[in-house]
C-alpha cells in the first residue's frame, strides 16, 4: 500500500493546537513559501510566477513555455498547467493491470491515469514541489543546502520553527522537506484553489441560465457523436452532487503538432514523449505510452493563451478545431516535407502509430464530415467561456 505521506506529526511543535489549527498553521507557512521569489537562484521566481493566482494558478501570458534559471533566460519545455481544482483530486499515477492477459489487451479504455505534471511523474504534491526548486529552467537551486539557507533567511523562518519545531533548521534536508509539505498543505487547503465561482457552477446550482449558444455548446461538448469532449473532460456532477472537474486525469495522445516556439524543438532529435520521457524516466521502455500526456482540467481554459502540453496553440478556437479537423484537414496543423504533410510530427516516425485514433472525434478519417460544424465550434467556445471563475483575469497575449 502506498502512503500519501501527509500524516506527518506536528503536535510536538504545537502541542496545544487542534489538528485543524495545526494543519492550517502549516498551510499558512506553505503560502509564504509558495509566493517567495527569494527561494530561486534568480531571486525573482516563485511558484506563483508561473502559477499565478490571478490566472487560476496558471500562466499569466501566452508564452508557450516560460524561462527560469539564474538569469531567467533558460527556457522550459512545457506549458504551465493551472493548479486550480485538480490537486486534491488527482489520484496517484496508475495504470490498471488486470490479472487476465486477455483483458489487458482488449481493455482499450483502460489507460494510464493520474499523477502530477503533464506526465504524471509525481504522486504527491510535496514530491512535485521539490522539482522546480532545482530544475534548471525554473528556480535552479544548486542543492538542498542552498534552499535551506534561503529558508533560514526568509522572513517566515520563525513560522517554520513555530510549526515544525525549534530544531527544524538543524538538518538542511529536513527543513526543505518540511517546507514542501507546507506548500502541499497550502495547495490542498486554501480555498483559492477551488472557488467554484464560474457561471457554469452557478448554472449547476440552479442560480444561472446558460445562453442558447452556451447550452448548445454544452450539448456538443458532451455528445459522444459530436465533440465527445466530456468523455475525458467530465462535465457531469458527481454522485454526491459535487461539481465536475472537467478532467478524468487519464492520459491521451492527441498528437499535437510540434511547436517550434520551444527552443528545445529546434533539435530534430528531441521529442517530448510525455509518459516515456525525457522528463519522466520510469516508463521509457513502454513505447505504447510515448506521446501520451495527462488530460488537463478545462476549468478557466478560456482565460488561457496557451494550450496543450507544448503550448502549440494560442487561441481556444485553434485548439478546438484541432480536435475536429486533425485527420480531416491535417495540412492545417502539420508541416509539409517534400510536398507531403508530416502527420503527428511531434512524435518520432516509429511512434506515430501511437496517435489517438480510438476516441472520437479522432476516429474520423479524411473525407468524413467534421464532428462539429463551424457554428457548433463557436457554441462549444461559448460553453467553455462559462467555466471561468469570477476572479480570473484573462491571460496577456
Amino acid at each position: 500500500m502506498w502512503s500519501l505521506g501527509l500524516g506527518f506529526v506536528v503536535s510536538a511543535a504545537s502541542p496545544t493546537a487542534s489538528a485543524q489549527d495545526a494543519s492550517s498553521a502549516i498551510a499558512a507557512v506553505g503560502r509564504r513559501v509558495f509566493f517567495d521569489p527569494s527561494l530561486s537562484a534568480s531571486g525573482r521566481m516563485s511558484c506563483a510566477t508561473c502559477h499565478d493566482p490571478a490566472h487560476a494558478y496558471g500562466p499569466p501570458d501566452g508564452s508557450a513555455v516560460r524561462s527560469g534559471g539564474k538569469d531567467l533566460k533558460t527556457p522550459g519545455t512545457r506549458a504551465v498547467p493551472s493548479l486550480r481544482y485538480t490537486l486534491n483530486r488527482t489520484p496517484f499515477f496508475s495504470h490498471e493491470y488486470p490479472s487476465n492477459a486477455i483483458e489487458r489487451m482488449v481493455a482499450v479504455e483502460s489507460v494510464p491515469t493520474g499523477g502530477f505534471a503533464w506526465d504524471g511523474r509525481h504522486d504527491t504534491l510535496h514530491d512535485q514541489a521539490a522539482e522546480p526548486l532545482f530544475a534548471a529552467p525554473e528556480m535552479a537551486n544548486a542543492d538542498v543546502r542552498a534552499v535551506a539557507d534561503k529558508l533560514a533567511r526568509a522572513p517566515y523562518a520563525g513560522e517554520l520553527r513555530a510549526v515544525f519545531g525549534a530544531d527544524v533548521f538543524d538538518d538542511a534536508g529536513g527543513v526543505v522537506k518540511k517546507a514542501l509539505l507546507a506548500v502541499e498543505r497550502f495547495e490542498l487547503e486554501d480555498a483559492s484553489f477551488h472557488p467554484f465561482t464560474s457561471k457554469f457552477d452557478a448554472y449547476l446550482d440552479g442560480k444561472a441560465t446558460l445562453s442558447p449558444a452556451e447550452a448548445r455548446g454544452l450539448r456538443w461538448f458532451s455528445d459522444p457523436r459530436k465533440g465527445n469532449c466530456g468523455a475525458c473532460h467530465r462535465v457531469t456532477p458527481g454522485a454526491d452532487g459535487s461539481h465536475p472537474l472537467l478532467t478524468d486525469f487519464t492520459f491521451a495522445a492527441p498528437a499535437v503538432p510540434r511547436n517550434r516556439e520551444i527552443p528545445a524543438d529546434a533539435d530534430p532529435a528531441y521529442f517530448d514523449l510525455g509518459l516515456c520521457g525525457p522528463l519522466r524516466q520510469d516508463l521509457k521502455g513502454d513505447s505504447k505510452g510515448c506521446g501520451s500526456f495527462k488530460t488537463p482540467t478545462l476549468r478557466n481554459v478560456a482565460s488561457r493563451r496557451v494550450f496543450f502540453h507544448n503550448g502549440r496553440f494560442h487561441t481556444l478556437r485553434e485548439a478546438v478545431r484541432f480536435y475536429v479537423e486533425r485527420d480531416l484537414h491535417p495540412e492545417r496543423f502539420y508541416p509539409r516535407q517534400n510536398g507531403a504533410v508530416v502527420l503527428y510530427d511531434d512524435l518520432p516516425p516509429a511512434l506515430r502509430g501511437n496517435a489517438d485514433h480510438v476516441d472520437p472525434p479522432f476516429t474520423r478519417t479524411p473525407g468524413a464530415a467534421p464532428a462539429l460544424t463551424d457554428a457548433e465550434v463557436e457554441d462549444v467556445l461559448a460553453f467553455l467561456s462559462t467555466l471561468t471563475d469570477a476572479d480570473v483575469e484573462p491571460a496577456r497575449p
Binding site: L6, P98, S99, G114, D248
Partner: protein, 434 residues
C-alpha cells in the same frame, strides 16, 4: 428472430427436511398470474438441502480452475486451509464472459445480453421486448425492468433478510454512493476503472459496479431496500455480531484488487493494483484470510451457515495473430466451455466476436466460442459438509442460484429452473444433513 412472448414458471415445493418434489415446467403466456404451467411437469425426486439458513457468497474474479486449484502458488490459504475444511466442486463452471453476465446469472438466472456480456460500459436501461422460456427477458441493455425478479425479491417475499457487501463502494462519494452505488440510468459507468488514492480519497476506490449485480434490477434499485441492503463491506463486521443481525443471504464482492481482478500477484512493479498491492490470487487469498475466519466465527454461520467461494469466470484463452494490408489482428479466443446443458438464452449468439480497434494498424478480436464461462471451481464450507469432500458433479452459476433458492424454499428464477439442472446434493452435503 422474433421474440417469443411467454413466461417460465418453475416452482419447487419444499416440504420438510427429508425430501421435496421438483416440478420442471414450460412457460405460460405473458401476463399469466398463475404458478401452473401450460405443459405437464416432470416430477423429479430430489433431496431437500440441509437446514441451512445463512448463506454467505464470496465471488472472486477471473481465474481458471487449473490455475486456482492446480498450478498457482499464490493462494495457499484457499487451497491449503479452506479446501480441506469443506467441499471442492471441481467441475463448477461460469456461465459467461466477461464478468457482469456471470454475476447477474447468480442472483437472477438471467442469461447474457449483448451489453451485460460486455460489462455494460453504459448503465443502460434494459429494453424489454418479451419474456420467453425459463423466464428469460428478451431485449437489449443492462438494468432489468421491475417485472424481472432477482433472488433478493424472492427472499424478501419469503421473509428472509439479505445484504450485499461491496468493498470500497462510496470511498469516493463523487464516484458512487456508499449505498446502492450506481451511476444514473443511461450514463457512462465511471466505476469501470479503479481509482488510485488521492489526497481527497486516501484509500482509493476500487469498487466496480459491474461486479455488483444487485444494481441491475429495477426491482431492487427502485425500492428503499437497495440503500438499506447494498452497502459497503465495512458494515459486515457489525452484522456478523449476532444471529439476528446477520442476513440470511450475504453476498460479498471484494474490490478490484481483493477479488483478484487486478494485478498478477507477483508484486512486480507495474503489475499490481492501483494501490500498489500485488493483486491476483495473492491478494484475494489475503482477503479470504481476513474475512473467512470472521464469517466462520459468527454466530449465524455456526448455527446454520454455508459459505460459498466462487469465481465469476475463467481467464483461460488462446491467442493468434495475423497481419494483412498493414493491419495486425490479434484474436483472443475463450472456449466458453459450459456444463449442465447450459442454454444460450435469447439475446446473444455463439460464437461471438467483439472487435476492439486500438489504432489504424492494430485490432483485437475477442472470440467466445461456447455459451459458458469455462471451468473455475468453487469451494463450499459448512457444518453440513464433510471436510475434505471433492465433488466432480458439474455445476454452474445457475446451479448455485437453484441451490440457494432450494435452501430458502423459493421458486427457481430464470435458468435456475432449467429442466434437469441439479442443485448441490448429496455429493456436497454430508448425509447427516438430510
Amino acid at each position: 428472430m422474433a421474440p417469443l412472448i411467454g413466461r417460465a414458471i418453475m416452482k419447487t415445493i419444499k416440504v420438510g427436511a427429508v425430501a421435496g418434489v421438483l416440478l420442471a415446467c414450460g412457460f405460460a403466456g405473458i401476463g399469466a398470474e398463475r404458478w401452473a404451467d401450460a405443459r405437464p411437469c416432470e416430477k423429479e425426486e430430489v433431496p431437500a438441502p440441509p437446514q441451512i439458513k445463512h448463506v454467505f457468497v464470496i465471488t472472486l474474479e477471473n481465474k481458471s480452475y487449473d490455475d486456482t486449484f492446480g498450478t498457482s502458488t499464490q493462494d495457499p490459504y484457499l487451497r491449503g486451509t479452506l479446501v480441506p475444511m469443506g467441499a471442492l466442486l471441481s467441475q463448477y463452471y461460469a456461465t459467461g464472459h466477461v464478468s457482469l453476465d456471470n454475476y447477474i446469472s447468480m442472483i437472477s438466472g438471467q442469461s447474457s445480453t449483448l451489453e451485460t456480456q460486455a460489462d455494460c460500459a453504459s448503465f443502460d436501461d434494459f429494453q424489454l421486448t418479451g419474456v420467453v422460456a425459463n423466464g428469460q427477458a428478451v431485449g437489449t441493455g443492462c438494468v432489468y425492468p421491475k417485472r424481472i425478479k432477482a433472488l433478493p425479491n424472492q427472499l424478501a417475499e419469503a421473509g428472509y433478510t439479505w445484504r450485499a457487501y461491496m468493498e470500497d463502494m462510496g470511498n469516493d462519494p463523487a464516484r458512487e454512493s456508499a449505498t446502492c452505488g450506481h451511476v444514473p440510468l443511461d450514463a457512462v459507468d465511471v466505476t469501470q476503472q479503479p481509482e488510485a488514492p488521492s489526497a481527497a480519497v486516501p484509500t482509493g476506490d476500487q469498487y466496480a459496479g459491474r461486479h455488483n449485480p444487485f444494481i441491475y434490477f429495477h426491482s431492487i434499485i427502485d425500492t428503499p431496500e437497495c440503500d438499506a441492503n447494498v452497502v459497503n463491506l465495512n458494515k459486515l463486521d457489525a452484522d456478523l455480531g449476532a444471529v439476528r443481525t446477520t442476513p440470511n443471504f450475504v453476498f460479498i464482492t471484494p474490490n478490484l484488487c481483493d477479488d483478484g481482478h487486478d494485478g498478477d500477484g507477483t508484486g512486480a512493479p507495474g503489475k499490481g493494483c492501483v494501490t500498489g498491492l500485488p493483486g491476483g490470487l495473492t491478494t484475494s487469498d489475503a482477503f479470504l484470510q481476513t474475512w473467512v475466519p470472521k464469517i466462520l466465527a459468527s454466530p449465524a454461520y455456526k448455527k446454520d451457515g454455508l459459505l460459498i467461494i466462487n469465481f465469476d469466470e475463467s481467464a483461460t484463452a488462446s491467442l493468434t495473430s495475423a497481419s494483412a494490408n498493414g493491419l495486425t489482428t490479434i484474436t483472443a479466443t475463450f472456449d466458453g466451455d459450459s456444463c449442465c446443458g447450459q442454454e444460450l438464452g435469447p439475446n446473444v449468439t455463439r460464437p461471438a466476436t467483439s472487435t476492439f480497434v486500438v489504432s489504424p494498424t492494430l485490432t483485437y478480436d475477442l472470440v467466445t466460442v461456447g455459451v459458458g464461462g469455462d471451468r473455475t471451481g468453487a469451494v463450499l464450507i459448512s457444518k453440513f459438509i464433510t471436510p475434505g469432500t471433492v465433488s466432480s458433479t458439474p455445476y454452474n452459476h445457475y446451479s448455485l442460484l437453484r441451490s440457494i433458492e432450494d435452501i430458502f424454499g423459493v421458486e427457481h428464477l430464470g435458468y435456475a429452473g432449467q429442466a434437469g439442472l441439479k442443485p448441490f446434493g448429496g455429493d456436497v452435503y454430508a448425509k447427516r444433513g438430510y
